[in-house]
Symmetry: C2
Subunit: 113 residues, 2 copies
């Protein structure tokens, strides 16, 4: 996965578990595209300090996913729901009852995730 996409997804799921200080700096660097030096000056810490904080946040966010695996589960659910949506539309467009049979199976599969 592209690094930025991974960071955005991890932050979306687990960002609330970072401290306010970490969140502010992480957002400025990763999402608002401020340079390390700009943030360092704003926050009155060293450029290296900002760099380390981002690294540490990345590691925390990845640890949360390694432990909880909620993104993986969520993505799998989303994929299967997308498949249900596709099948419902296929049926609308003249597909036969086998589409609905498949929907039934997929909805059971989601229940088991």
């Amino acid at each position: 996965m592209e690094k930025f996409v991974e960071q955005a997804l991890l932050y979306d799921f687990y960002g609330e578990l970072l401290t306010e200080h970490q969140k502010r700096i992480y957002e400025d660097v990763v999402f608002n595209d401020l340079s390390l030096s700009e943030v360092a000056e704003q926050q009155k810490i060293s450029r290296q300090g900002v760099h380390d904080l981002i690294k540490r946040c990345d590691r925390s966010l990845r640890d949360y996913e390694a432990k909880l695996g909620l993104i993986r589960k969520f993505e799998e659910t989303r994929r299967l729901v997308g498949e249900i949506h596709r099948l419902a539309r296929e049926f609308d467009a003249g597909g036969d009852a086998s589409c609905v049979k498949k929907i039934e199976q997929i909805s059971e599969q989601i229940g088991e995730l």
Copy 2:
């Protein structure tokens, strides 16, 4: 929600964020039904210590849910997927195309959660 059910659900989602020590004691007391005194003796800590640890774990688990809200999201998804499953079976049992139309709508709704 009944307290035990709430604890089981919270632990299922966020238990991995507790330490090994906390997990062992929490499981013994909450799920394996050992008494505080039994666990206190096994772990060589006071009965009050075990009691406080359980309280602290309960609070942490609830805090995680308050911050991330993943159980709420997950339960809502599960409810809607159950609805899809019911509609697919209704169609199988002779229901008309409106069942599938509803499935299509619900699958979009899940996508927006």
